[in-house]
């Protein structure tokens, strides 16, 4: 209701001719329910999105405490996951009981630059939920016994995951691009789990899980009273530390070797990763490269899917993607293909890239991709939860909603010639890494 899309009419038809596409409209302009920016008494920024009709609310509490800040693999994730394992006032068991009794869903996540606690709650239980969240964020105990159990579980899961070819390929791919010392390429080895101690965890928490390092997004059918609730539990100066955070720099050391093959004897498929370090959201070329990526492998009708799955039947799925982080980004093509067609599949991947660099995209294909992507932009703003997820993706870069306006403008104005030159500029074959696991 609050997101209004304006359309222009494209085509007309009258009688039931099953060969003829019905009249359709192109999304012309997307209006966004923007967040209201508020400030808590201690200076924490709150982005409030008032949307939706249900008595539900989603809160994201975001700390600048991601993998970029950690000194050893898995530290940030260990901290955020261990928050619920016991506080000054309640045991892990009591905390779990309480959240489950309220029917609140709590998720703990680590990204490259942030650590996030996400809460989904019924309106009527929001206050009780937030009260407990305050406690586990400000006064966690990180008990030794619970950490040991948590770590043993993760080691076991890690060993199981290490058998999956797609994870083997992804690990070697990121390491080759960024180097294992860099947060974007850092993957743990089994013995890394034993290096983390509750002391490391406590000191990381003390340094980064503080008011100055925090922002909050709240979304749902909300009003001023919800902001007051947030202020009651998170607005105090009791968790300001007045630290000056060090500026951390990490150097990228890409592998010299561009092709890496990891053998796994009993595998019946190979996992493939082909890609490179590339521009991120700050670069003016980024929206254009996103369109090129979509044409190549970003949707079901993409060239990689049409050729390698729908024409050749080499795979259940193949796709490409752009991953944008704050200080760099990467482009990747990913698939799992039958062992005996691996070489053929890779050949076709390069052929498809080459076609983008040498031939102009047809108007028809461009129209399909343009409208498909416009639909996705509209989806990004459909309802309070999507609105909040979308806001989170731009806050990390301190970008505003203009980012999407620029994106929509680019979608509408991009030409086949521009697509070709972007493909030439950013997807040069000799710059691509190729990892095969299987």
């Amino acid at each position: 209701m609050k997101i209004v899309a304006h359309y222009i009419i494209c085509q007309m038809s009258e009688i039931l001719d099953r060969k003829l596409e019905p009249v359709f409209k192109v999304i012309d302009k997307i209006e966004i329910v923007k967040a209201d920016k508020k400030t808590l008494s201690n200076g924490i920024s709150v982005y409030a999105i008032n949307a939706g009709e249900h008595e539900l609310v989603k809160v994201d509490i975001i700390f600048d405490a991601g993998e970029w800040m950690q000194k050893m693999p898995m530290l940030s994730y260990s901290v955020v996951s261990m928050l619920c394992e016991g506080s000054l006032f309640h045991t892990a068991e009591e905390i779990a009981e309480k959240f489950d009794f309220l029917g609140s869903y709590i998720y703990y996540n680590t990204q490259k630059h942030t650590a996030t606690i996400t809460i989904y709650s019924l309106q009527k239980h929001l206050e009780e939920t937030l009260q407990l969240i305050e406690e586990i964020i400000k006064y966690p105990l990180f008990p030794e016994k619970e950490f040991e159990t948590f770590n043993n579980k993760r080691k076991q899961q890690y060993t199981i995951d290490s058998q999956k070819v797609e994870l083997i390929a992804q690990k070697h791919f990121c390491r080759a691009l960024f180097g294992n010392e860099h947060p974007y390429g850092m993957y743990p080895e089994l013995d890394d789990f034993d290096k983390i101690t509750t002391m490391n965890i406590r000191s990381f928490h003390a340094q980064y899980f503080i008011a100055e390092n925090c922002k909050i997004i709240i979304a749902g059918k909300i009003d001023e009273s919800h902001i007051q609730l947030l202020n009651r539990y998170f607005g105090d100066i009791d968790w300001q530390k007045l630290f000056v955070q060090p500026i951390l720099d990490h150097k990228i050391t890409s592998s010299v070797q561009k092709q890496i093959i990891v053998e796994k004897k009993d595998a019946v498929q190979s996992a493939i990763r082909i890609g490179k370090i590339t521009i991120n959201k700050f670069d003016p070329d980024f929206p254009k490269l996103q369109i090129v990526n979509t044409i190549l492998g970003g949707y079901f009708g993409s060239r990689l899917m049409s050729n390698i799955r729908e024409d050749k039947g080499y795979t259940y799925g193949i796709g490409s993607g752009l991953v944008s982080y704050k200080n760099a980004g990467y482009f990747v093509i990913a698939s799992e293909v039958g062992k005996n067609v691996t070489i053929d599949a890779i050949k076709e991947v390069y052929l498809e890239i080459e076609k983008l660099q040498t031939e102009l995209v047809s108007e028809n294909e461009l129209e399909v991709v343009r409208n498909y992507m416009l639909g996705n932009v509209l989806r990004n703003f459909d309802g309070p939860f999507a609105l909040s997820d979308t806001l989170k993706t731009i806050l990390e870069y301190d970008l505003g909603y203009e980012y999407f306006e620029t994106f929509v403008e680019t979608l509408k104005s991009i030409t086949p010639n521009q697509i070709k030159s972007i493909a030439v500029k950013h997807l040069e074959k000799s710059s691509l890494y190729e990892i095969i696991a299987g």
Binding site: R18, G52, D100, F101, N152, G301, G338
Partner: protein
């Protein structure tokens, strides 16, 4: 609460509609009442392979996906033991494109040999990717034939083996289409920013002219009563043992379904649930453990699945599960705990109602059960469950004559 309006076309197509004006989208869901349970033992995996072929072009439209993407739409489909379900979301202004595309492939498929050949390969790769090339990936290929001896739930939807998929012929495809893909064997459900009047007009226009087909009467072989506990031990290239215990349970529409679902929640929904608290956190016997139900239309399975912690014997791990089962059989349960799992169900239902695609899929499934409005009494069905019900059902369900156990062990 989901407001539902419905009508039926002369050709038997049932249409259920939920108007939701809070979104600029419409979700369009077409459910066919055919699943892998309708296959014969020598042609398993066919219902799912057929789902792939539905995207290979229809009599008047050469590709399904492209015209949909051109109007900002997204789509996909899934097949399970009971149903085949196709779904689309698209901007409300372009809803007619969904009617055009879906009605044409209900009218008649293209039956292209090339599409069949390619999709056979794609499905074989899907088989390898999801079932053969992952640790513990073949679990369900083992559990189903252990738990069922006569009923077609004995094979997984993906198929018994790759060979049967490779053997599918264009004749099989045609036969299957005209047998099951009929307006009188489908439920169309719509949720989103559209009125029931508009839906009626479009449904009449695009689906109305399709003729009713003769759909075979479903007469599935009944699964005989199990008489003793079954076990199976396999060795695979995995790092740790896993343990799977199944108990045959009631049909989806039986009253006990809700009681059994709550039992699975008491045992394994959330970090405060019994299995996680006792067997993972406290006794450290499993790195991960779950209890859940398959929720199938016919008699389904209650499943325990656990990855045994390094160094723990699988016998000790199994004993600990039975200790928890016996507590329920003894009626060891307090009002607080029952209320907790009911609260969680209330919350889950409320969140699921925020999403039009969820709503469209769910109301179609309930309409197939007999009435889409049943969805609105679900919470009541759960909240009526009492401690004594749990005790009674636990004693009926968790018995050896209902039980199959799979020991999935690392190679020696």
């Amino acid at each position: 609460m989901i407001e539902i309006k419905k009508f039926t076309l002369d050709n038997g197509l049932t249409v259920v509609v939920n108007e939701d004006t809070t979104t600029p989208f419409v979700a369009f869901n077409l459910l066919y009442d055919v699943g892998s349970k309708d296959e014969t033992a020598d042609k398993t995996g066919f219902a799912h392979l057929f789902e792939h072929l539905m995207f290979g072009g229809s009599v008047n439209i050469s590709t399904f996906d492209e015209p949909l993407q051109r109007v900002g739409g997204e789509n996909n489909a899934f097949t399970n033991t009971d149903i085949t379900n196709y779904y689309i979301t698209l901007p409300k202004e372009n809803i007619e494109t969904a009617f055009w595309l879906e009605s044409d492939r209900m009218l008649c498929l293209d039956f292209s040999q090339k599409s069949l050949n390619v999709q056979k390969n794609v499905v074989c790769e899907e088989y390898r990717q999801r079932y053969l090339n992952k640790p513990y990936g073949d679990t369900w290929l083992l559990l189903r034939p252990l738990a069922y001896k006569q009923h077609p739930y004995q094979w997984a939807t993906i198929g018994k083996n790759i060979e049967q998929i490779e053997n599918a012929s264009i004749g099989d495809v045609k036969e299957f289409f005209f047998k099951y893909y009929a307006p009188n064997n489908a439920v169309l459900s719509i949720s989103g920013n559209i009125t029931v009047e508009e839906v009626k007009k479009l449904a009449e226009k695009w689906f109305g002219p399709i003729e009713r087909r003769r759909v075979p009467y479903r007469n599935l072989p009944a699964e005989p009563k199990q008489t003793e506990k079954r076990t199976l031990t396999v060795h695979r290239n995995v790092p740790y043992p896993s343990l799977y215990i199944t108990f045959r349970m009631c049909r989806r529409l039986d009253n006990d379904y809700y009681i059994i679902d709550l039992i699975s929640d008491i045992l394994s929904n959330g970090k405060s649930s019994r299995l996680y608290k006792k067997l993972v956190q406290e006794k450290k016997l499993f790195s991960d453990i779950n209890a859940y139900i398959t929720g199938e239309t016919e008699e389904g399975l209650f499943v325990f699945s656990g990855n045994v912690m390094n160094g723990v014997s699988i016998e000790d791990a199994e004993k600990a599960i039975y200790y928890e089962i016996n507590k329920l059989k003894d009626g060891f349960l307090f009002d607080y705990e029952l209320l907790k799992v009911k609260n969680k169900i209330e919350s889950t239902i409320q969140f699921s109602e925020t999403n039009i695609l969820n709503k469209a899929m769910n109301i179609a499934r309930y309409e197939l059960f007999g009435d889409a409005n049943l969805i609105n009494s679900e919470f009541l069905n759960y909240s009526n469950v009492q401690i004594l019900d749990i005790k009674r059902v636990a004693n009926e369900l968790f018995v050896d004559e209902n039980c199959c156990t799979l020991y999935y062990l690392p190679n020696e």
